[in-house]
Amino acid sequence: MPGSRVAVEHVSRSHGATQVLREVSFAVEPGEVVALTGPSGSGKTTLLQLIGSLDRPTSGAIHVDDIAVHELRHPASFRRDVVGFVFQLHHLLPSLTVQENVELTMVAAHVPRRERHTRARELLDEVGLGGRPHALPSDLSGGERQRVAIARALAGRPRLILADEPTGSLDSAASDRIWNLLVSVRERHGTTILIASHDPTLREHADRSLAISDGRVTDAAPPATIAAPPAGLPAENAESAGKAGKMV
């Protein structure tokens, strides 16, 4: 399944008097791996949460393909069927086994038990943990837990992966493994991946990068690109979007 197109248009988010995001606009094309870089507190996490419907913008619009995320009143199916989250802290449920954690999204989607088990095992194989389906999160290292979290994010066959500091708490070897895993996911499934990190070296792994500072995206795609219709993006705009944002 191809990746999703993401269009963020003039999005602001404030908590009381605190303005976390200010008029943010950018677009991500299907299958792109885009890095959101910036210091802690710059608004990266908030932006990912808004795109993933974990939060709602104070103003502005967010479209993932033809879905108006900012208007979703019941976002469960969107989170289940379209998006896969990877958090800095893996947030695995401590009382469930590795396999059961991976199956959580499929349980929500009422996937039959046998199919669920098969798919979870395949995903664990994919992230290199096929031999430990019955381990508890407490039995795993930090890197292994994050790989389980990636398998869980892939379980719903998402078109968009939102990863918030996925290597933030890992050493360099474990970080490299996570990056290679995410890149391979894009290569195999064409999934769009949006990664937030304060690590500037992230750019080496991404197709392009967007810098966020003080709630503003400072090197986003031009407005003409993001104003295009969410679905069926004209070729010239898609091309210009790619050129405008490409950092490699």
């Binding site: 069927d81 958090f87 947030h91 959580l104 349980v107 929500a108 869980r152």
Partner: protein, 369 residues
């Protein structure tokens, strides 16, 4: 089904947390079970108090505040004896709290050869024949270490024990009998009786007897064995109401306990529910998980709570020093009720926490590190 199995597995893998959550619920259910048992015991004690053992019916003054305050003229006895269907009638005085060393003992004032006392089976000695003599039940004899020839003091009056009887009725075996005239003197009811015990002839059923007496003597209250204590008088009604109040208090305390326990469990695991929400679980699915968990832990807690409740009821009575008056009555029905109530509380008490869990903001909960 998957939700249920996963929830059960999760509970099994967190034995300490499951135990502590169940314990919180258990304390609530234990409170219910203990108070219901004590209340039931109090009611039953009242019922037994009114049970006149071998007599078929007991006749009391209508609307007396308490059976012991009933006052009937002894002359009523001869009129009752001539009433159709009645084989025998004998006056009785009830003295409560007059045995200083054992205040719970009930002492009856009775004629020595009435149909009531004639049914006593003596294990030692014989029925009294003098004015300052008494017979006592096996329970009272054992508790006060009395034997025939010893002295029983009732309201500062000394009676020589001439015999020890056994009736199989706790309230009578734990009490004694003194001559009617002596009891009248103690109670200040000369020429009066507290109650008249009535024996029906073989052709008359208890219901017929009650109807007949009530018809001929509208000012009397007729009590048969097994008649609810609440019909006996104002105090018994109050006792019955007290039992109801205790049960309601137990429900409120237990309910709050169960709900608080479950709410704490939800608050403690906000991140977990936020994660479920983030990976696509609907509010209903999350709430269902909380409810399943609540019911399962409540069932575990209920089993533990019933055990604690039974033990707690006896401790409560002991701490209150009321063991002489109230024996906690733990019946299968009480246990079943407490279990049912506990599960209902688990469901009802889990509704709000489940609603809270379903509304956890994933953005806020997952951002907390």
């Amino acid at each position: 089904m998957t939700n249920l199995l996963q929830t059960l597995a999760a509970l099994r893998r967190r034995p300490m947390r499951t135990f502590l959550t169940a314990l919180g619920t258990a304390l609530g259910i234990a409170t219910i079970a203990a108070l219901l048992a004590v209340a039931g015991g109090a009611q039953q004690s009242a019922g037994k108090f009114l049970s006149l053992g071998s007599s078929d019916l007991g006749v009391f003054q209508k609307d007396a505040a308490d059976p012991t305050t009933s006052v009937l003229p002894v002359g009523l006895v001869s009129r009752l004896r001539t009433t159709p269907g009645i084989a025998a009638a004998t006056p009785l005085i009830l003295l409560v709290g007059d045995v200083k060393r054992l205040p719970s003992a009930i002492v009856f004032g009775a004629e020595p050869h009435s149909f009531v006392t004639n049914r006593y089976v003596f294990t030692a000695g014989h029925m009294f024949s003098g004015a300052r003599q008494a017979v006592i039940g096996t329970g009272l004899a054992a508790q006060m270490h009395l034997q025939p020839g010893d002295t029983l003091t009732v309201a500062h009056r000394r009676f020589r024990v001439t015999g020890i009887y056994h009736m199989g009725v706790a309230e009578q075996d734990d009490g004694g009998v003194i001559p009617l005239a002596a009891a009248q003197g103690i109670s200040g009811k000369s020429g009066e009786a507290t109650t008249v015990a009535v024996s029906l002839d073989e052709a008359t059923t208890r219901q017929e007897g009650i109807r007949t007496i009530t018809h001929h003597f509208p000012g009397l209250l007729v009590i048969g064995d097994g008649v609810p204590a609440s019909r006996a008088g104002v105090s018994s009604v109050m006792l019955s109401n007290l039992a109801l109040v205790l049960a309601v208090i137990a429900l409120v305390i237990g309910g709050i306990g169960v709900m608080n326990t479950m709410l704490m469990a939800v608050v403690e695991r906000r991140t977990e529910f936020a994660l479920l929400s983030a990976v696509g679980w609907s509010g209903v699915q999350i709430a269902a998980r909380v409810m399943i968990e609540g019911v399962v832990t409540t069932l575990i807690g209920a089993a533990l709570g019933l055990l604690l409740g039974v033990v707690g009821a006896h401790l409560l009575v002991g701490v209150l020093g009321a063991q002489e008056y109230v024996t906690p009555d733990v019946t299968a029905w009480d246990l079943g009720r407490a279990l049912l109530v506990g599960v209902l509380l688990g469901v009802l008490g889990g509704l709000y926490p489940a609603w809270r869990a379903a509304r956890v903001s994933p953005a806020q909960a997952l951002a907390q590190r």
